[in-house]
Subunit: 323 residues, 2 copies
Amino acid sequence: MDATNGSQPLESQAKAFFDSAPPLQNTHQITQKLVQFIQHNSSPLENGDFKRIVCVTSGGTTAPLEQRCVRYVDNFSSGHRGATSTEYFLKAGYAVIFLYRRGSFQPFCRSLPDDPLLECFKPTDDLNIQVHEAYSEAVKRAVVDHHAAVTGGLLLKLPFNTIFEYLQMLQLVATSMRCLGPCAMFYLAAAVSDFYVPWKDMVEHKIQSGSHLLDVQLVEVPKMLSMLRKDWAPLAFCVSFKLETDSNILLNKAAIALEKYKMDAVVANELTTRKEQVVVVTRGENIIVQRDNSHSGNDVENPLIKLLSVRHAAYIKDSGSGK
Amino acid sequence: MDATNGSQPLESQAKAFFDSAPPLQNTHQITQKLVQFIQHNSSPLENGDFKRIVCVTSGGTTAPLEQRCVRYVDNFSSGHRGATSTEYFLKAGYAVIFLYRRGSFQPFCRSLPDDPLLECFKPTDDLNIQVHEAYSEAVKRAVVDHHAAVTGGLLLKLPFNTIFEYLQMLQLVATSMRCLGPCAMFYLAAAVSDFYVPWKDMVEHKIQSGSHLLDVQLVEVPKMLSMLRKDWAPLAFCVSFKLETDSNILLNKAAIALEKYKMDAVVANELTTRKEQVVVVTRGENIIVQRDNSHSGNDVENPLIKLLSVRHAAYIKDSGSGK
């Protein structure tokens, strides 16, 4: 295992990561979908502006411990933030590329139970099925709104599981969006593994039990945020996330990430309060964004996406171009 | 971290595991559900026999690496085996306690896509919803059959995530089923973590990145199969599973498990062929069980559950009691 990665230039680290990763399945299909989606959404609007496209990443990535994967290290993330934000981005007029962990929360479905089909439907007397009244409106809204966004060409959903799939797909998405210049936004809400086992170092077969201790050594994942900023889509408006369970170190770490990866904003959230409040850390100021508690059904993502949308519009204007 | 566990008697290992585990939420509620379910299903049948109850475990357990859990080690298991087997156990006249990983496959739903609500339904012109024709029968069957099993008191579903939850719940289920004597079956299809980090050794907050290597040390999970056999439900018919990616060591490991944990049968399956064929390893013989390919919709679980049901009936008869 190569512990000297830290001293290599980032480009070599990234190259080594991608060279050694198992190749992405369906690369051609994904690329085609991306090209079509971006083309569909990049004709000028009536007022001469361009539609804005955001790539929302959502859910956690896995780091396999075995090549024929039985065990892996996973990052906790329900995908609630990404799914909710996607709805508000669509409301704000964005087209959304939703890069999500398989099985995580989906846009328009977050008020539904875990198993919506089994929990929301019941048989009728004639052995047909119908929706429980309590869920009737939520189920209808989920299907209708989701269908409208997808068939309207405003929502493209791309699933991943592993850190290898995620980073290869993010690179594909970002290089495809490069042509949008400042009109592209990255909203990187996925909980990405910090550590992984390089594919070539992995055992092929299931790790055998029998010993009393298992010692797993993982190496750091190259900081691909820098690659996104420098190489893949240098003009895009980039928002990353910092999640900590210890609020004492949160803002400091967010500010460090802002500078280190040259993000336009870092959304700082603490595990226990993340649905009530986040802090948007920018170069000029730290903006506290809170959920409006005055009526139910409001989410902290509502004011958050409004704020980011305004900042993104200003960023496009400052760049001196609608495209 | 205590590396000397191996030399302690199993009972002390198990006690240490349970004493240090975070307490199970809703223990009282789960116990009540179990008592009601077992009572409902343990009146004698018309022919004087007793209904048989099986506990099917399904999906993988997680081993958290942090107390306020962001990262964890997970075991790959879709839960397909457990969900499918549950359907065939119900068909064979069993009542089923389905102890499953949250988000894994559910009985009656395995022919449906990942997101059945979003994939199987579409809006109608009047902004209502209807099922896509291709899924019409599958969706109806899922809702109707699932509802019939649950409301008929024949299927009790209990979800878990972590290895701590799983083992505490298995102990609750097993001690509740103890009164059923040989009429109880355990069908342990869940992919249970072999290694974990003891709760007291865990860091409270998220592990910080920044170093180039992460070294995770896990200790072996006490072999609770022995506790189940010896203490929790000593007369039950016990079936465990052995999954390997390397077919060369599979049967040997299954035979060792059969003896070591005093199982009545071990189902040996290899990762790539597990939907086509399994080998049931018993004290007398190894029985190859194959999927019937002559018509579609057949599963290897169909002949497997038939075989186990016959063996279980003989086991009850040999025990000289219907209860």
